[in-house]
């Protein structure tokens, strides 16, 4: 078990190195730091200032290590910074990226954790219901509704909800955020609704498929033959076995709770990491964007390891060695 975890982590580290290399190629070799500097500093900047800015942001060094110079180059620096979580300052406004991440994490989690739980809480019972009533009109309606829900762009969900619920019905504030826990519920209601709605189609369909596939297995027939009722069958046998395929999706989603949701956050004015990322995109802020991609990958890799480990917990057939 321990050996497995260590090995799995080791591979994770290898992948992290790969990700960093890719990011390096993408962000250092294919972009011109002068432009980034000019965007950050303004149009009318003397060249000395741009040079100074490049020094401050570490864009002035040679790209690759040479035999005489192993550490003082951008590649090494890139790896060193990313691996030690010393992300430096934003290209756009010189704020410490780490500070920004720390500030953005709270609002992101405030949105994504309830969203995650609600999505599961709505989609799984709904999928169980649909699977339970398979081959009836409830099932067919459920599937059609899911496909309908899947076919609408999330942008339209957001626009529609803001217009209908926010503006016409005045149930919740149209957008915004507050750190006061009493107030935050009001602000989160609408993005949560949109988030759940936009994901429910795909989720229900996926879960239903999994449930149906499990309920066609032989052991379900055995359970029926020993007198097990349908409800108990669903909850005790089908659901428990379905957990294994569901885990891939669910556990893998957990790390991404930290990175927030790009669209929801920026449309609903939630100052989370997603909104920070969108700002970075709009502001040509490559260092922040790079960091966000890196953190996303890191979390994904952790998520994958967690998924593998959780298989071991849920599925007795899997031995982690």
């Amino acid at each position: 078990m321990l050996a497995y975890v260590i090995r799995r982590l080791a591979y994770g580290v290898v992948v992290v190195f790969g990700v960093l290399l890719f990011l390096f190629l993408l962000f250092f070799m294919m972009t011109n730091p002068d432009d980034v500097a000019r965007k950050a500093l303004g149009e009318r900047v003397p060249p000395e200032v741009i040079e100074q800015w490049k020094v401050n942001h570490g864009y002035d060094k040679p790209l690759f290590p040479s035999s005489s110079n192993l550490t003082d180059n951008m590649l090494f620096e890139h790896y060193r910074r990313m691996l030690t979580f010393d992300f430096g300052r934003s290209d756009a406004d010189d704020t410490l990226i780490m500070t920004r991440i720390r500030e953005g994490m709270g609002p992101s989690l405030a949105l994504t954790v309830p969203l995650f739980i609600l999505s599961l809480g709505v989609a799984i019972p709904f999928a169980l219901l649909v699977a339970f009533f398979r081959e009836t009109y409830i099932d067919r309606t459920g599937v059609v509704l899911s496909v309908l829900a899947m076919s609408v762009s999330i942008l339209l969900y957001i626009i529609g909800a803001q217009y209908l619920i926010g503006k016409l019905l005045r149930w919740f504030p149209i957008s915004g955020f507050d750190f006061d826990p009493q107030l935050v519920v009001r602000f989160l209601a609408l993005p949560l609704l949109v988030g759940v709605m936009s994901g429910i189609g795909g989720n229900v369909r996926f879960y239903r498929t999994v449930f149906l596939e499990e309920s066609n297995r032989d052991y379900v027939r055995t359970a029926r033959a020993k007198g097990c009722g349908e409800a108990r069958l669903m909850s005790h046998h089908v659901f428990r076995n379905s957990l294994i395929p569901l885990l891939t999706q669910v556990v893998l989603a957990i790390p991404f709770l930290f990175t927030g949701s790009l669209l929801l956050e920026s449309f609903f004015g939630i100052p989370g990491l997603g909104a920070i990322t969108v700002d970075a995109i709009n502001g040509n802020d490559f260092s922040t964007l790079r960091t966000m991609v890196y953190i996303g990958s890191l979390l994904f890799i952790i998520g994958q390891i967690l998924t593998d480990l959780s298989y071991g917990l849920v599925d007795p057939r899997v031995r982690l060695e």
Partner: protein, 340 residues
């Protein structure tokens, strides 16, 4: 070469290709059965998709000239597609005028549906015309990206699965690396770095979407490699390359089709988000939605603009999703989960 010539050549190739495939498919009992089954189950969705494809084709075949009656000199010298010609201003009185200067300066912006079937947008363009033009862009995004991503994924997936060993290790490593980067962010970063163009968007979409199918095809190849008919072929002295082409690839075709169909809707929907971020493809429905988004707050409300683009998008995605479901059921019920 002029872009319209390229477009015409591509259309010709596609038409020939599709005709060839159709001929092959109808001749081949297995595929014709599947097609028949699909037609039985999802007649309307197939018709809807066919309509979109037809519109896209009408918008893809273009040539210069033949517009001398036009007041617009620029249009006279530009390649105009069949669709453009159908909507040209000679028909203004009967229907609508996408380039009509008179209307434009006469204040025809944001007209309600009426003389223009779906109204006009803020600079007086016909919304119906724009929605139809979006079909080509959507198919371009879906098609071009699939055309890049699927062969790439097949190449890597099959070689990794079939040869195993170091090849597999390398492909698996590249896959884990790409897969571990958050998709949308990677997409945005790629487009930001490559610059904004249709090709760049498609390339970036391809880079972010090939991994999923690569993994599926690798897994499937691993399974196929162990099957007895592959073994029998080896016992018959058939070369490895021929085994791949005759025994492995044909048995992945259903996955290719399923993935292609399912990928399409995902790609078109991601383009909408890209459009909102300002890095979408010009003329797409996503761009229309984003352009029309704010008009929704006008009083009285300008709904036709966004709903036309939204419904055009919804229509094709829905049809594709329905067809995708059916295709998945018809071609391979076992791959339900991997297709996700």
């Amino acid at each position: 070469m002029e872009s319209w010539v390229v477009s015409n050549v591509v259309v010709a190739l596609i038409v020939v290709g599709v005709a060839g495939l159709a001929w092959f498919g109808l001749r081949d009992r297995m595929w014709s059965q599947a097609l028949g089954e699909l037609w039985c189950r999802r007649r309307y969705s197939v018709l809807v998709i066919a309509f979109y494809v037809a519109v896209a084709l009408l918008d893809s075949i273009s040539w210069v000239g033949g517009m001398e009656a036009q007041s617009d000199t620029v249009a006279r010298y530009k390649a105009q597609s069949i669709l453009d010609r159908l909507f040209a201003d000679t028909r203004e009185r009967s229907y609508s005028a996408p380039f009509a200067d008179r209307e434009f300066y006469g204040g025809a912006a944001l007209q309600r549906p009426g003389s223009h079937v779906l109204g006009t947008d803020i600079i007086g363009r016909d919304v119906f015309y724009l929605s139809l033009k979006g079909a080509r862009v959507a198919l371009l995004i879906g098609g071009l990206t699939s055309l890049i991503a699927i062969p790439l994924a097949l190449l890597f997936g099959v070689s990794a699965g079939y040869f195993g060993g170091r090849t597999d290790d390398l492909v698996f490593f590249v896959m884990s690396t790409l897969a571990s980067m958050p998709g949308l962010l990677l997409l945005i970063a790629l487009i930001m770095v490559m610059g904004k163009s249709t090709l760049a968007v498609c390339l970036a979409l391809a880079v972010t979407s090939w991994v999923g199918f690569c993994r599926v095809s690798r897994g499937e190849t691993l399974k196929l490699r162990e099957l007895e008919y592959v073994c029998a072929a080896r016992a018959l002295g058939v070369s490895e390359l021929r085994i791949i082409f005759r025994h492995v690839l044909p048995n992945l075709m259903h996955l290719v089709i399923i993935t292609g169909v399912l990928m399409f809707s995902g790609l078109v929907l991601s383009e909408v988000v890209l459009s909102w971020l300002g890095i979408g493809v010009d003329g797409s429905w996503g761009q229309m939605i984003d352009q029309a988004r704010n008009e929704l707050s006008r009083e009285p409300i300008i709904w036709w603009n966004i709903s036309a683009a939204g419904s055009a998008l919804f229509g094709v995605i829905l049809a594709v999703n329905f067809v995708g479901d059916a295709v998945r059921d018809i071609l391979d019920p076992q791959t339900l989960r991997q297709g996700e």
